[in-house]
């Protein structure tokens, strides 16, 4: 598969939510994501991301999100949400 490079998207990985299941890596058609030694995803080739959101929709734990220049919904501060009491 051809790899497209755009370089306009950002990826947030929320370590506290991530369970290192690898689904995001398995579904990325652009080979943006790679596992670290423990299996947690790293966005090592972020410039290839096309914001297809396959990773985000297949993540069962809401631990990854791709942020385009003009997001279609708001972006919340995840660490503060998790720790709010």
């Amino acid at each position: 598969m051809d790899i497209v490079a755009r370089g306009i998207y950002r990826i947030n990985l929320y370590r506290e939510l991530c369970k290192a299941c690898g689904l995001c890596i398995a579904w990325c058609p652009q080979q943006v994501l790679f596992p670290d030694a423990q299996g947690y995803p790293l966005a090592n080739a972020i410039e290839r991301c096309v914001n297809c959101k396959a990773c985000e929709r297949h993540c069962p734990d809401f631990a990854i999100e791709v942020i385009p220049p003009e997001p279609e919904s708001e972006i919340a501060d995840v660490p503060s949400l998790i720790h709010a009491r």
Partner: protein, 301 residues
């Protein structure tokens, strides 16, 4: 429209309860995400939405979703949800159940909720096994599937929920998988617009129990195999098909849609996904009930 995960988390879930107790890679999180997105796309106020669940891994969802939630007893979610819908007919009530929850212990309640055609959106997460209690056989375990109660493979034929729903009088039945996430969201969204009992069966993965006992691979392998094991159905083509199509999973009693006898049932072993049936002109039990009371009151006056 593509919603951000952090937005879904803040608006429709309870982030303080995260991370969930579900195993890494369990499809239940994907189902929960699709339900949240469906509520958003329908433009519903989450304070006017309720989620009722039973017991099981699936049953835990009501602890993580930020609607009005009821975590009820095993198998009785449809009964609690019926009471809620009768008291608050204006509320959108989503019932989430596992395959064991809905079809084993809760089979009776499910049948009568469908018979009344009460306005509920039922999401049945079918992972072919009892997840929470350690991988026992469920009514949807396929023939030959190994479980902790069928070490050499199940020999019972699986439940045909689609035909049961049709016979009992449900208004809508769709089947989706956790692999096709956009279709899953769209089908739940559509089910939520039905007046009457709408059921979405979601094929999901329990890779740590059923998957391991049957050497089906990890979560991603199990999800990707859903692509080959299912086929998309189109209700229009279904009605026009010369030979009746089988609508249930392989091994369960097959009843064709367009003829009375089972001869010539399509032999495709793949499980159909998409809208399996929709009964037009269906009206929710609660609105019919209150209309009947009004009519009686007028007749007396």
């Amino acid at each position: 429209m593509k919603l951000q995960n952090s937005f879904i988390l803040r608006e429709y879930l309870r982030p303080q309860a995260f991370p969930t107790t579900w195993c890494p890679g369990c499809g239940l999180g994907i189902v929960m995400s699709s339900i949240a997105q469906a509520v958003h796309f329908r433009g519903l106020d989450k304070n006017n939405v309720a989620m009722v669940s039973g017991i099981g891994c699936t049953g835990r969802m009501s602890g993580y979703a930020d609607f009005n939630t009821l975590h009820t007893t095993h198998g009785r979610a449809p009964a609690f949800a019926t009471g809620l819908k009768m008291a608050r007919p204006d509320m959108s009530v989503i019932v989430v159940m596992g395959d064991g929850d809905s079809m084993s212990i809760g089979g009776n309640h499910l049948v009568h909720a469908m018979r009344r055609n009460i306005g509920l959106t039922a999401v049945v997460v079918n992972n072919a096994v009892y997840g929470l209690t350690g991988g026992q056989s469920s009514p949807t375990t396929p023939v030959g599937g190994r479980t902790s109660t069928a070490a050499s493979g199940s020999f019972e034929r699986p439940m045909n929920l689609e035909t049961l729903a049709r016979a009992a009088g449900a208004a809508f039945y769709a089947r989706a998988t956790v692999n096709q996430t956009a279709a899953l969201t769209r089908l739940i969204e559509r089910a939520m617009g039905v007046s009457g009992f709408a059921l979405v069966e979601v094929v999901s993965n329990c890779h740590v129990l059923y998957g391991r006992m049957n050497e089906l691979g990890d979560a991603s392998q199990m999800m990707k195999s859903m692509e080959e094991q299912t086929r998309r159905v189109n209700p229009v083509l279904l009605r026009r098909a010369a030979a009746p199509l089988r609508l249930t999973s392989a091994g369960s009693p097959a009843t064709p849609v367009s003829t009375a006898t089972a001869q010539g049932v399509h032999q495709d072993p793949r499980v159909p996904r998409g809208v399996i049936f929709e009964r037009h002109g269906s009206r929710d039990y609660s609105s019919r009930y209150y209309a009947m009371l009004e009519q009686k009151a007028r007749a007396r006056a």
